[in-house]
Amino acid sequence: MIKMESKFSKLFEESKFALLILAIIVAFFLIVFGITGAKVILGFILFFFLPTYLIFKNFDIEPEEKIAFSFFIGLGIFPTFVYYIGLLISSMRWSIAISFVLLLTIGIAFSKYYPKSKKDKESKEEKE
């Protein structure tokens, strides 16, 4: 129980810090580029980063690697979906929405079904 609580408080602390960083970044874009800037940076994080991060967060790699790989691969994956779905349905705007939902679903499903035994094994190795 105590262990569980400390894990939660650590997670809470980390989330708070991540939110602080996000707030600083969004505030910067809002101040310098107005609402357009804020939309662009939030969209950038949401579309290019989030879906791939949901996949990479499961792997046994360093936290900064998870973030970096998610961005670098998301930059290539997301437009691929948008472009080809866009060709099929003839709408870029709808294609962005569909691609996002699709990739997010893949990310969530991957996160959920990524072999639990692997996660346990990796976290055990990490503790050692």
Binding site: I21, P79, Y83, M92
Partner: protein, 548 residues
């Protein structure tokens, strides 16, 4: 080595990065008008076409005559020649932001400044926070990077972004093999990231491949065994297929064209003198082996980059950083840990690649463009050189840390005093009028885009510079004709081809003076003689006529 990245470090990193972003976005903070060289306008046309039409660009917009004779897609003329991911991201940004200028350039700034984090990731765990932050900081003021960013060779800027991160994953994999804790994820990440890099621009691939090969040789000599063995060779082979699968599946129409270009441009043996891209510079002695000791001298011509670009003095604010570069290289040679060999392999591989002509391998007109990647090699080595000074001073652990950060602080101050001002000035004054459109030209171009039929052909009269015309054409997204050589057209041959004439007095009204007044009256005379139709737009010194 301090391994865990603290919250304070992340905070400092983010603040420095936002400073970089502020500086790099100065060209469009006040003047929200597109800019760049001809390449930039072409990228804008392709990406913006997706935003304006709400459809992905499969075939190149027919409004641009440049696409008709430009070396586009080799096997499917008229079709997109860049892998679609490159331009689609710009269009996505425009759609998210809901307009055509700021989101486009903001996405560009984000990916071009991404090199800050890419280099940080490469160096942080291997060389510590001081070296990593310093290298990233130096890149803020990198003239080579900012020129690529401002001019418009944006594909190269994105491919550059991937080089450090690919090296990092490969290094992590080889380390895991030699430490008998093999982590295949890093090997597969190397291939996947290389595929992503290829999708943005293939030019980075030979560079990163060369670096990986040189590193493999060096590390194999050090460890006395190859990182490839009987058990993992299958993963190396699967990785190659994975790479090929990704690039072919993600860009099926463009990959053959890219490979065809490589086949066309790379010449082994004597280059064909009739081909501009493989012509040897007049007076250049191919057998001149003195070039072994030169960095920037190369035989090809027609690469389209000014000579200014190939000089250490010009690009690195004099020679004051050269000793640190040399010190960094010497330090790595003396220490020779595996991480040192990785960094050494970057400069060795680059040297070999840009000297391949000495063994009769000619890379064609693209070869000089490889120098775009030089900063990502030099700045980390300089940062290593600067921080290595602390290691030569014998002290205890605590004081050595203080000395190291003290040296970094001194380097930062020197950079701010020497490199920062020219950087600030260049960003602040980037593309002034008439190197970029004035507000009246931009408004008129937007009006054309919103109001004229898709097949309209507009003749520009009075628009002063080529860049003005290129960008007005890009923003209006309509076919344009103009007299290349004269502001006041001496020939009226274009009139028969157009159904609209745009009379542009805007700049001359802004600058005023005798010369401008003279030009205005010449243009008025031309207008009187040649425009018979009705005025459909008349604002801020720009008139658009519909010809009969």
């Amino acid at each position: 080595m301090e391994n865990k990245i603290s919250k304070q470090e992340i905070l400092i990193l983010i603040i420095i990065y936002l400073g970089m972003l502020y500086l790099w976005t100065m060209p469009f903070q006040q003047q929200k008008i597109p800019y760049g060289e001809g390449d930039a306008a072409i990228h804008y046309i392709i990406a913006d076409n997706m935003y304006v039409t709400d459809k992905p660009t499969l075939k190149l917009p027919e409004t641009n005559p440049v696409f008709n004779f430009q070396m586009g897609n080799l096997f499917m003329p008229g079709y997109l020649f860049y892998c679609p991911q490159f331009h689609t991201n710009f269009a996505i940004s425009e759609i998210i932001g809901g307009e055509r200028v700021v989101p486009f350039y903001l996405y560009l700034a984000l990916i071009c400044t991404g090199i800050f984090f890419s280099v940080y990731i490469l160096l942080r765990k291997q060389f510590g926070a001081a070296t990593a932050i310093l290298a990233s900081f130096l890149l803020i003021f990198s003239m080579r990077d900012r020129l690529t960013y401002l001019w418009g060779q944006w594909g190269t800027a994105v491919t550059l972004l991937y080089i450090p991160i690919i090296l990092y994953t490969y290094y992590k994999y080889t380390e895991s093999v030699y430490n008998s804790k093999e982590k295949l994820i890093y090997l597969y990440m190397t291939y996947i990231l290389a595929a992503m890099q290829f999708l943005f621009h293939p030019l980075g691939i030979p560079v990163v491949l060369g670096m990986i090969l040189v590193y493999t040789v060096l590390i194999s000599i050090k460890e006395k065994k190859l990182p490839i063995n009987k058990t993992n060779i299958k993963h190396f082979i699967i990785g190659i297929f994975l790479f090929l699968f990704i690039i072919c599946a993600f860009a099926p129409l463009q990959v053959p064209s890219h490979l065809g270009r490589i086949n066309r441009d790379v010449v082994i043996g004597t280059p064909d003198q009739s081909e501009p891209s493989t012509q040897i510079k007049e007076g250049y002695d191919v057998s001149k082996f003195a070039r072994i000791f030169k960095w920037y001298d190369f035989p090809e011509v027609f690469h389209g980059i000014p000579d200014f670009y190939f000089s250490f003095k010009n690009l690195y604010y004099g020679y004051w950083m050269l000793p640190f570069l040399i010190l960094g290289i010497l330090f790595l040679i003396l220490r020779r840990k595996s991480k040192d060999l990785l960094m050494l392999s970057t400069i060795i591989a680059f040297y070999i690649i840009v000297h391949l002509d000495l063994i009769n391998v000619y890379l064609g007109a693209k070869m000089p463009r490889l120098f775009y990647f030089e900063s990502v090699i030099f700045y980390p080595l300089m940062a290593i050189g600067i921080t290595s000074i602390a290691l030569f001073i014998k002290t205890n652990d605590k004081s050595s840390k203080i000395i190291k950060w003290g040296i970094v602080a001194a380097a930062v101050i020197a950079v701010l005093l020497i490199n920062a001002k020219p950087t600030y000035d260049q960003f602040k004054g980037a593309y002034p009028i008439p190197m970029r459109m004035d507000q009246a030209q931009f408004d008129a171009s937007n009006w054309i885009n919103d109001n004229l039929p898709k097949d309209a052909i507009v003749m520009y009269v009075g628009t002063p510079t080529f860049l003005n015309r290129a960008w007005m054409h890009a923003v209006s997204a309509r076919m344009a004709v103009f007299d290349q050589n004269n502001i006041v057209p001496s020939l009226d041959k274009n009139i028969n081809r157009t159904n609209y004439i745009l009379m542009d007095y805007s700049l001359y009204m802004i600058i005023g003076g005798e010369q401008a007044t003279g030009l205005i009256s010449e243009l008025q005379q031309w207008e009187k003689n040649n425009t018979k139709g009705s005025v459909i737009y008349d604002k801020n010194g720009i008139k658009i006529f519909k010809t009969v």
